[in-house]
């Protein structure tokens, strides 16, 4: 060990985060010993969930907000993991002191879902029975399974009822399922850029992504970790396809148009156009932080979710027992989860006599808009969360 005893004492340099940031956060791993019965019929005997929390839980535990992540999200929704972290959590624009989901008011819980690859039990975890990574043997979990696991998490944290559950895209499906499965445990539900089920077109995009992964020679039927390799090109390709569908035509035009990296055509197939280079970069960097089996699993969970199918294919019936007050938001240029799909949810809710507000936000960013700080969107979420805070205080009294 180097000897520092002679070194002059240096002042501790701490990075100052903005006042509106939750600052430094540390994830926490919770172990669950109770078995979880999964939709596929299999049992998960024990599992870990990695969570982050922001803000303070009040004495009556009435100010808790659950954040549900989308396809490639995780528990790190806000703040920074270290002083020199370049980027904050994936929804830092909405979570923090004074932000739309105000951590001065709420105790915010964000987790990595089962089957994820950021610390919660999933394909990259070690299967206790074999001592090897689960890989393709990890069960295909569903939105319903996730919500069941969230409920165990809520029990562990002493939260009998969430003040609100908020999620976008695949996260919105989890919010919807919460209101159906545990109507007494959620007072407010925000379903953003989501759908009550995927369309054939949407499943088709997922299938292309899965084929890209599974046809990579390094995929090795999902056992790539055991062989210390990665289906990087397949996963990268899957991400590229996804990326295209998350952006609108206008957004891509604004961002890249036909701009080229080199003036003259090279008459070959290198990344000459800016859009090519961007997609290649996105695909490549994704393979460094995401697991291919998890990608397969997450897209499958998306495909399978269809709460109406359990109720004669009638969404109104599926939502009949929901008690939450809903906020549904869509974005005009989102064609992966179009406004029409959100309106299916809204129509079912008002037909079922449920409390719902709906906004169709004019935004050029496509599906990605739900992760962005768009003034109308942020203001609406903020106003709605303020009502949640007010009603939560009334609830405490």
């Amino acid at each position: 060990m180097p000897d520092h005893s002679q070194a002059p004492s240096e002042p501790v340099v701490t990075r100052s985060f903005p006042d509106s940031s939750v600052g430094l956060v540390t994830p926490e791993t919770l172990h669950f010993d109770q078995p979880l019965a999964l939709s596929c019929g299999r049992m998960l005997e024990q599992f870990d969930l990695v969570i982050e929390t922001y803000g303070e839980l009040n004495k009556s535990a009435s100010n808790a907000v659950l954040i549900c992540h989308a396809l490639s999200g995780d528990h790190h929704a806000a703040g920074y993991h270290s002083e020199d972290d370049r980027k904050p959590g994936w929804w830092d624009s909405a979570i923090g002191p004074g932000k739309a989901i105000d951590t001065n008011q709420f105790y915010v819980v964000s987790l990595n879902n089962l089957g994820g690859c950021r610390g919660s039990t999933g394909p990259v975890s070690i299967n206790p029975e074999t001592g090897k990574p689960w890989g393709p043997d990890f069960p295909v979990v569903t939105v319903e399974d996730w919500v069941e696991s969230h409920a165990l998490l809520a029990d562990r944290l002493g939260i009998t009822q969430w003040a609100a559950i908020v999620g976008g895209s695949l996260g919105g499906m989890q919010v919807l399922e919460w209101t159906i499965r545990f109507p007494d445990r959620v007072r407010h539900a925000a379903v953003i850029a989501s759908a009550p089920k995927l369309s054939a077109q949407n499943i088709a995009f997922n299938e292309v992504a899965r084929q890209a992964i599974m046809s990579d020679p390094q995929f090795l039927e999902g056992r790539y970790l055991e062989s210390e390799t990665l289906p990087a090109s397949g996963l990268g390709l899957a991400r590229m396809v996804g990326h295209i569908t998350y952006l609108s035509d206008d957004a891509m035009k604004a961002k890249f148009d036909r701009d080229r990296k080199v003036t003259d055509f090279q008459f070959d197939y290198g990344a000459e156009f800016q859009v090519e280079s961007y997609l290649r970069y996105q695909g490549e960097s994704f393979t460094k932080r995401f697991d291919a089996n998890t990608y397969l699993l997450m897209t499958r969970a998306l495909d399978y979710y269809d709460p109406a199918s359990r109720h004669n294919h009638n969404l109104v019936e599926a939502l009949a027992n929901a008690k939450a007050r809903f906020l549904v938001i869509s974005f005009t240029t989102d064609w992966r989860f179009s406004p029409e799909r959100s309106e299916e949810i809204v129509n079912a809710l008002h037909t079922a006599g449920k409390d719902v507000s709906y906004l169709k936000v004019d935004a050029p960013q496509g599906h990605d808009a739900f992760l962005m700080d768009i003034p109308r969107y942020t203001n609406a979420l903020s106003a709605w969360m303020n009502r949640v805070a007010t009603e939560s205080k009334e609830y405490t009294v």
Binding site: G353, N379, A383
Partner: protein, 198 residues
């Protein structure tokens, strides 16, 4: 509170289900929620007004009523209300049909284009009326389908609607003798409570 809202409030039974078309900043629904414990939604397209609805906790759905109410089931509301929006619709007659389909009863308010001041403006000055009440010029007005009380009565008649109550008054909604005697000449605002003929 707006005076026309206090009249409407009297016509809506407690605990009923209300749909407010072009609900604006949600003032009426907010009032009805507090005074009459009604439930229901406002429909609105103006982003700023929708924001105000959210701030005051009024349930609001972003929807263009000119495109119909197809997504609402027949008879699913006790009362469908529309205040000061009839004249701004592209298809006021079709929206009226939709209101009567979705609601068991409807309340509609609109300004009277047959008011003497409008007639004076057009008759003497030969110009489209512009006033504090109707502040727009002809080319930028959102009000594209003005009518008079008589016109509206004709429409109700041709659609065989039942007029349950009607109040024709001035803007302050004071008891106005001339407006009672000659509504189409002296009334500024009409509040109609109608239902489909059963």
């Amino acid at each position: 509170m707006r005076r026309d809202f206090s009249v409407i409030s009297q016509w809506i039974p407690p605990q009923s289900r209300v749909l407010d078309l072009a609900c604006g900043d949600g003032e009426l629904l907010d009032q009805l929620k507090r005074d009459k414990s009604v439930s229901g939604y406002g429909l609105e397209i103006d982003p700023d007004k929708i924001q105000t609805c959210l701030e005051r906790g009024v349930s609001v759905i972003e929807q263009d009523i000119d495109k119909g109410l197809n997504n609402f089931e027949s008879g699913s509301f006790d009362t469908v209300v529309m205040t000061s929006a009839l004249q701004a619709l592209h298809n006021p007659d079709k929206v009226l049909d939709e209101m009567l389909r979705v609601g068991k009863e409807c309340i509609v308010t609109f300004p009277n284009f047959g008011h003497w001041r409008c007639r004076l403006h057009l008759g003497i000055h030969g110009r489209m009326p512009v006033s504090e009440f109707m502040p727009y010029s002809w080319y930028d007005t959102p009000n594209i389908h003005f009518c008079t009380f008589k016109d509206f009565e004709d429409l109700c008649h041709s659609k065989r609607l039942r007029v349950l109550r009607r109040l024709v008054t001035d803007q302050q909604l004071k008891d106005n003798l001339p407006a009672r005697l000659l509504p189409n000449l002296f009334g500024e605002v009409a509040i109609y409570h109608i239902s489909p003929k059963t």
